[in-house]
């Protein structure tokens, strides 16, 4: 296993970003999926739902963006 890791070449930052994007990807999917479902069930609450959807999206996305910035910071 260690030999295999030693063989990996290229930018580790890219791999790190890929790992960092897994969680937020799932999270954003859940947020927008449920948001769309909520709007479909209750179209009159569109304003409140959309706004909360974007706040949740922004919080989940922050993790992926930290993963994106980190390789540039820790070079």
């Amino acid at each position: 296993m260690l030999d295999l890791i030693a063989e990996v070449s290229g930018n580790l930052g890219a791999i790190g970003y890929g790992l960092a994007a897994i969680g937020p990807g799932i999270g954003i999917g859940i947020i927008f999926g449920n948001g769309v479902q909520a709007i479909a069930r209750q179209p009159e609450a569109y304003g409140v739902i959309r706004q909360n959807m974007f706040i949740g999206f922004a919080l989940a996305e922050a993790l992926a963006l930290l993963g994106f910035v980190a390789p540039f910071v820790f070079t």
Binding site: G47, V48, Q51, F54, I55, F57, A58, L59, E61, A62, L65, L66, F68, V69, F72
Partner: protein, 278 residues
């Protein structure tokens, strides 16, 4: 003025796929975010450097000030063309962001949210504006300055409206939480409200613009690099060119969305500082 129009520092003319000089794909890196200085002056021992992003920000500020001054200088009952545009912008901020998040009590802060939204949106939009092609918000200082402003605003409002003790106890001890959980929750709430909030606010805006600029540059440089007399070259150039157009459209969406989210989060932080229940 050469630094204003450079496509990418890393792409050398004559560097093509299968070319004579045998250069590989010149992947753009962080050097595309560095600009040559145009002017420099020193006040009290601090050196200020004027470069392209500074000029863009100044231009955008001037544009916003001039436009909305013209729009609202002489308000009339029956609005003219410029005034009705300004009113549309105002109503958007009031109804979509302020009233939805803060309620009627937030009408005092519309001016702040309004300036924030249009400033962020316009300097983001510079990222795809022909000739500018760079969003100054992709450099960390600009979002940090905005986030510090937002942080000062919501901390000040909270301290003023709720008083220093109630503000922090309301922040750290949400009602209806079991006592043992509070041991862990209180410090987390404090850290997330006071430290993480402004930090992520700045990072979010910066990273989105940074990624967008990098992505566009990668595809533009790829289109130029692949331009060569071969099947792969022609197809690759065409694909990259199409991607540039698609990504530019996508960037426009992201820029608007980020300005909206930035303002929305600011509004929700102000709402949190105003209300007493949590």
């Amino acid at each position: 003025m050469a630094s204003l129009v450079d496509l990418s520092a890393s792409w050398a003319p004559g560097c093509h796929l299968g070319g004579d000089n045998g250069c590989g794909f010149p992947a753009p890196g962080t050097e595309i975010f560095e600009f040559g200085k145009i002017a420099e002056y020193t006040i009290f021992g601090i050196t200020f450097t004027i470069d392209k992003p500074v000029i863009l920000v100044l231009l955008c500020s001037a544009l916003i000030i001039v436009f909305f001054t013209v729009a609202f200088a002489k308000p009339r009952m029956v609005p003219g063309r410029v005034q009705s545009m300004g009113e549309l912008c105002y109503v958007f901020i009031r109804d979509q962001i302020s009233r939805e998040t803060i309620g009627k009590a937030g009408d005092k802060y519309i001016a702040f949210l309004f300036s924030l939204f249009f400033f962020v949106f316009l300097i983001n939009f510079m990222g795809i504006f022909p000739g500018a092609q760079f969003a100054p918000t992709a450099l960390f200082v600009y979002p940090v300055a905005l986030a510090v402003m937002v942080w000062l605003t919501y901390m000040f409002i909270g301290l003023k409206k709720q008083g220093p003790i109630k503000f922090f106890t309301n922040m750290m001890f949400p009602p209806g939480v079991p006592k043992p959980v509070l041991v862990i929750l209180a410090p987390i709430e404090f850290i997330s409200n006071v430290i993480i909030r402004p930090f992520t606010l700045a990072i979010r805006l910066m990273a989105n613009m940074f990624a967008g600029h990098l992505l566009l540059t990668v595809f533009i440089v790829a289109a130029l690099y692949l331009a060569s007399p071969s099947v792969i070259g022609v197809l690759g150039t065409a694909a990259s060119g199409v991607m540039v157009v698609i990504m530019t459209g996508f960037e426009f969406l992201i820029e608007g969305l980020q300005a909206y989210i930035f303002t929305l989060l600011t509004a929700s932080y102000i709402a949190g500082s105003l209300s007493n229940e949590h």
